[in-house]
Symmetry: C2
Subunit: 290 residues, 2 copies
């Protein structure tokens, strides 16, 4: 069994991005510039956005954080998005989700210039991803594809099962893994809450990706000997063994599953760190396009 | 074994559309108006476009056929698309593919106003389809979903195998069948040229959809007893039994497969007629939106 070390790979990717930024600057361009829009004071959102700003600093990007009260109207937020679209000093930006109830998230996302949509949520980017055109791919699927690539995990012709059909993980990942590409060319089955014979289908997978947000859902009997298992789950479970009082728990019962695996991602330290560098990669791409 | 009669269902849908047009007109709106852009004189394309124009007449739509020489430049064609986007008398339009070599098809498709893109090929419509938002769905997947719906074929939780990963059939169909919807909620596996164990995977399918363009590829040993088989293939094979000298042949070896099926589509007369009404449905939708 080999552990897929997302933390190590993420650090390597960050170093590569840092070098590319230095080259950009050396050739007379300005630093890539990411803006993040944060509405309200939700604990999770604040933490995520702060991480993103710190990541920018680490690789030599400019970053701008735009904070709004959670009483902001849809019209005002659309105005802010419009201004960011127009602002030539900004290469890409994200609007941290979720947004307050009075705001239609789909409307905000569709208002973002697809060329600056480094979260890859705009329908134009989703559509281009589906049909295999260059696009900004959203963070989690992009990070997972990068892990598969860096560990040279064979996907062509392989039986790949994706647990979860969310718009931000399961569905795009299913499409990326089945693209005529390397990594890609896999035979992908997407499983969800209405699927029958889930255990049986999982047990046939050469590559099993768990993204349903149910802690320790994948047990040893669902995993084939020699399979690769990627765990996207990040549920906080109460714990009396940690200082914080909780423990990040994946969708895979790691202790019993890992001995059967060829490769497996830990939680934390697997997919998580890769999602953060995916945003940096998209921002660099947006800057290089100019 | 029950035959899925696409010809009959298509005629029914056309009657329903005709009634909706009459209601639209009675309520003071003008008739829905479809424009078709035809470049060059490719035999297939001319036939397809003529069919589309005739279909419009049949259901009471206006139609406009715009013909261009195959020497047209990309700039001129973009200009024509732009004019159609601006023309308020036209609800939807299509640009018949393929286009001559000097023209970048993706560029033309992306120039179409997504609100008028009744072929459903624009990345915005593809992206919205993927994330489950209302959109124009392309003709073949839309026609197949309609057949499944009208025959009350159970899809929820079922094991569905789609043979073929094309951008216009396999990939969108995979996404539609797995959406949280009825029909939908299926566990879908998409198979393609690089897949391993194809026969074995097909033989597990409750619903098998063949869209790879290989005549009679699906044989009896690949089909489970009681399965539903949908045949998207339309290859013209030479024949000395027909006046035309050719015979339309599906991806399924109908004679040996059909006895095992609960439902099966014939070729011709199955999926084919439904793809034509799908365009009419999208055009009606575009007109109703206004």
């Amino acid at each position: 069994m080999q552990l897929i070390d997302g933390k190590k790979i993420a650090a390597e990717v960050k170093q590569e991005i840092k070098k590319e930024v230095e080259q950009l600057v050396a050739s007379g361009s300005r630093k890539p510039h990411l803006a993040a829009v944060l509405v309200g004071n939700d604990g999770g959102s604040v933490t995520y956005v702060n991480h993103k700003v710190n990541d920018c600093k680490e690789v030599g990007f400019e970053s701008t954080l735009l904070k709004f009260e959670d009483s902001i109207t849809e019209k005002e937020l659309l105005e802010a998005v419009h201004n960011l679209n127009q602002d030539d000093s900004i290469d890409g930006f994200i609007v941290q989700l979720p947004l307050p109830k009075q705001i239609d998230e789909a409307k905000i996302i569709e208002a973002i210039d697809p060329e600056k949509d480094v979260d890859g949520f705009h329908p134009v980017n989703v559509g281009k991803m589906l049909i295999g055109l260059p696009s900004f791919v959203s963070a989690t699927p992009s990070g997972i594809m990068e892990l598969i690539k860096r560990y040279n995990i064979e996907t062509t012709g392989k039986n790949c099962v994706v647990l979860g059909r969310s718009n931000i993980v399961g569905r795009p990942l299913t499409n990326l893994l089945s693209q005529k590409n390397i990594p890609g060319n896999a035979t992908v089955t997407m499983i969800h809450s209405r699927s029958e014979n889930i255990k049986e289908i999982c047990a046939r997978a050469d590559i099993l990706i768990a993204a349903i947000g149910k802690p320790e859902f994948v047990t040893a009997d669902m995993v084939k000997e020699g399979a690769t298992v990627i765990d996207v789950g990040t549920t906080r479970l109460p714990s009396d063994k940690t200082k914080s009082g909780w423990k990040l728990t994946g969708d895979v019962k790691f202790d019993e599953v890992s001995p059967k695996c060829k490769y497996i991602t830990p939680v934390p330290g697997g997919v998580g760190p890769m999602t953060r560098v995916a945003l940096l990669k998209n921002t660099l791409l947006a800057a290089q396009k100019k």
